[in-house]
Symmetry: C2
Subunit: 323 residues, 2 copies
């Protein structure tokens, strides 16, 4: 049997490094999960990826020459054109100025590419997920932070240094709450996990009984998922929290609709699970702030690839002139 | 002598229609100016352009077959991919749903293309003006309104309907002043001609003697140019008006830097004449709101093509697959 040629997609997260064999159609044939903290230096990362590839190849009975190349999506400030990590903060110690593509090519003896993780997921969703069939789509990940990726004319928008699509820092209100970046009123300051939890703690202090009951039942810490459960159970406080999240997200999306006129806006990340709860507020803000024609043209949908998006998207990464 | 092949660039403005013969190097060999109000219907516009081309060809001793095609930049909501004017408001009566490319092709018997005027100028500045040598540039026109055009990866970003780069409606402050579009706190509400004049009238009421003297000397109505002259002559009120214009422009640019990471930001339009007066406030806001690396990568410069930008940019307009 001739096995199909595959690309290795690597999703370099803050907790796990996922390494998978991906077909050209985006099917993940097999994958290995490494712990990030055991592979937190560039040398250890390259070695971990090499072992993972050996493992994937041997267990699949796959000849190594059927594996085409290695593509990595990593969090942080990355210049994909040159494969350099300017700054990566989600690993212990952090990385600065690491020529990761060169190190990978040297360590693996294969064609390697590196790009920002949100760009990579945007690419995967556009090629194989919720963005299929469009030329212009926008991906936002809603979680601890708010990241994004832009596809325009069927190409990733990377910008001069590769830092484009830092959509979480779109200005919403200069007098708004403090963002993780230190500034006031960024989109992320209104719609991240931290902002939901801040509002939820306020709701608890004001006597939100439904949320309090659900928290007690869960026995764990407060999470956006519990706030979503409380809203679904009729907590007015929690419903209002999600309406506010949606409204501020909508204000940010309206500016992005004016700038980019996307055909599809794809929402991923943990907070996107509450899509039904924040959809109303989001639409209200977009109606209020964006022009009717481009607002109507932008379908807003949930991401489809789930937690394989990082691997699959990375595998789709192709650089013009790369080799 | 063999004359070089030329393209006809048409700059369809609210007051004048400028029709020019443009070489591939962007030189305007000859041009004709028509009054918009005499050519305000689609049929009159097409006829006016036809006569202008005949005139340009005959006076240049130019064989009509050396004229390659006709490209039009027009204000309003235009789907360049299909050459349709969705909405054009700057002509008496306004246009809605006009298939302008088809009408031009029928009336002129030549290959014609149509796009939004700010896109066209962005393209011209990128190819031949202040954006030369970059892959990612951003053009903003600062005048009665604030429009823009985006070049990413060496291509215009048009979006799904062709309405991308409505940069004047980037959100700055939801509690800000009312914009021409009816919403509060758009970039345009802070940095357009109207906002400068509103502040200047306030300054006059509060006894700005320098501005009052300059107005009296000029004998004409209050204009941003007079407010710039007053600032240059030391009026503290007027200096503060420009600082505020710059600061709010900088807030908008910071969001655009996060989204697009441009290599060059090009400022054109009448208000860009006060560049030196608003540059300080603009830089202050960008330093305060944008990440250091992409902010440092974005050179902010004045447009170079002046009032030929519309004709030259239009002539550069080429659509993939058009013929």
């Amino acid at each position: 049997m001739v096995t199909p040629r595959c690309t290795v997609g690597v999703d370099f997260g803050g907790t796990n490094i996922r390494v998978g064999l991906v077909t050209d159609q985006g099917r993940v044939i097999r994958r290995v999960v490494l712990r990030t903290r055991d592979h937190a230096t560039p040398a250890a990362f390259v070695q971990g990826v090499r072992r993972a590839i050996d493992h994937l190849a041997s267990h699949g009975g796959r000849r190594p020459n059927r594996i085409r190349g290695v593509r990595v999506g990593a969090p942080g400030l990355i210049d994909g054109r040159h494969g350099t990590v300017h700054e990566l903060v989600n690993v212990p110690g952090g990385w600065r100025g690491v020529p990761l593509r060169r190190l990978l090519r040297q360590g693996l003896g294969r064609c390697c590419e590196v790009d920002n993780d949100a760009n990579v997921v945007a690419l995967g969703e556009w090629r194989l997920g919720a963005g299929r069939g469009t030329r212009d789509s926008l991906y936002l990940t809603l979680g601890t932070g708010v990241g994004g990726g832009i596809v325009s004319n069927g190409q990733l928008v990377r910008g001069a240094l590769g830092t484009a699509a830092e959509l979480g820092h779109t200005l919403i209100d200069p007098r708004g709450p403090r963002c993780g970046c230190g500034r006031r009123g960024c989109l992320e300051a209104f719609v991240s996990t931290a902002s939901v939890l801040r509002s939820a703690r306020l709701a608890l202090r004001h006597g939100d009984r439904i949320l309090a009951r659900i928290m007690t039942q869960s026995g764990g810490p407060l999470t956006p998922a519990l706030v979503a459960r409380a809203a679904a159970a009729g907590s007015r406080f929690s419903l209002e929290i999600w309406r506010q999240v949606g409204y501020h997200l909508g204000l940010g999306l309206a500016s992005l609709i004016h700038t980019l006129n996307p055909e599809r806006i794809i929402l991923g990340g943990g907070m996107a699970g509450a899509f039904r709860l924040f959809r109303g507020g989001m639409r209200e803000a977009i109606r209020a702030r964006a022009f009717k024609a481009p607002a109507g043209a932008a379908q807003i949908v949930r991401a489809q690839l789930g937690d394989r998006a990082g691997i699959v998207g990375a595998a789709m990464l192709v650089w013009e002139g790369s080799g």
